[in-house]
Symmetry: C2
Subunit: 227 residues, 2 copies
């Protein structure tokens, strides 16, 4: 297989028949050995974390496909840490869409003048951020994403609505296990052939902040509750 | 008169009859002696800058009142550098609303991955920012301003629409004089008695970035073109 992209936590290959294959690595984002889903660098390597991410992603993508929510997922191979997916084009070098149920992390750092850390938000708040390490992944509005030629206004609305729908599913599954979803990060792309907007990348512990009561659940532990 | 607020470029007094009076000081925002409308500190003191700001503000507020755009303006006294205004309550400790016609300044610093400095925007872009020096005046979305209990969604829409209407008036007046408005910052408040949303503060060279061709026009010079 030909490697076509080397990411922080996943590498991307093209199979000899043209399929796209994601290889889930044992690297996690964070800083100084401490996991942080908001960090832009690999902070630690944990044996088995790639497979754990792949298993949780597979669980959620199969669930979403059953609900007719469009994802890039085709199939997974747990023996090889691989997920086979539909080919997509990203929006520019990639957008991350954050759905927040509780004000914390970078949201609290920005708006701490008016909100306490840990405040439950009455409605989920969706934020679009640009993947841009150099500029600390800036948040961008619908108007700005349009001005930057990254998203049309109707695509923004589609993605924002899909995000809440998807994250509500994840939240519900966690709630059933006594866990609270604080925030979660998704990625979307356009199907290479049909241009349909698809959920891409992964839904794993590394992309979400989850609590049980006062306790922040480690990303690798979330799967042990769910699967 | 009793001083009720000491600002960076203006002090606020309450007259013996209850009226609010703004005193325009000769201090300008900037850094190391260089003017910058986006700075949060007083960077220089220029004799006459207070009066220049008051004159331009008076010019625009009278123009806007004639167009039935609600402002807090009552009258000006150029001999005393004073403007008499309606009393307002601010949104929290204050919102600043930026209208951008050209991508530059902090907008370019955030989105420079996808846009060139100086790109003319097809539609004006409105951004709401919180007055919060400690957190570098973060941009906040409609949903966030609602979650922070600062603005209802309909108030956001009212202010966004007023902003474009007002800034288009300013832009047109500058265009008539051969000047290009790149961006401009407004403030709004609620009328203390009626709760009506009013344009407050000032419209002066210190709140806008203006070019003539390639040349950045100094804020104190803008008035010499207009008045």
């Amino acid at each position: 297989m030909e490697q076509i992209y080397k990411g922080k936590t996943k590498d991307v290959y093209r199979d000899s028949n043209g399929d796209i294959v994601l290889f889930f690595k044992d690297d996690m984002t964070g800083k100084d050995g401490v996991f942080d889903p908001g960090e832009n660098q690999v902070g630690l390597t944990v044996k088995g974390s790639g497979l754990a991410g792949l298993k949780m992603t597979t669980y959620f993508f199969e669930l979403l496909n059953d609900l007719d929510i469009p994802t890039h997922f085709i199939s997974s191979n747990f023996d090889k840490n691989e997920m086979r997916v539909r080919e997509v084009t990203t929006f520019g070098d990639g957008l991350e869409v954050i759905c927040r149920y509780v004000a914390t992390g970078s949201y609290y750092r920005r708006y701490g003048k008016y909100i306490e850390d840990g405040t439950v938000l009455e409605n989920p708040i969706v934020e679009f951020t640009l993947k841009d390490d150099e500029r600390q992944d800036p948040v961008a509005s619908k108007e700005t994403l349009n001005a930057l030629d990254l998203l049309h206004a109707d695509e923004y609305d589609t993605i924002a609505a899909l995000t809440v729908r998807i994250c509500d599913v994840v939240k519900e599954k966690l709630t059933e296990k006594g866990l609270d979803l604080y925030d979660i990060k998704l990625e979307f792309g356009r199907d290479h052939e049909t241009n349909e907007i698809l959920l891409i990348d992964e839904i794993s512990g590394g992309n979400m902040r989850v609590f049980k009561g006062e306790e922040n659940i480690h990303p690798l532990e979330i799967g042990t509750y769910l699967l």
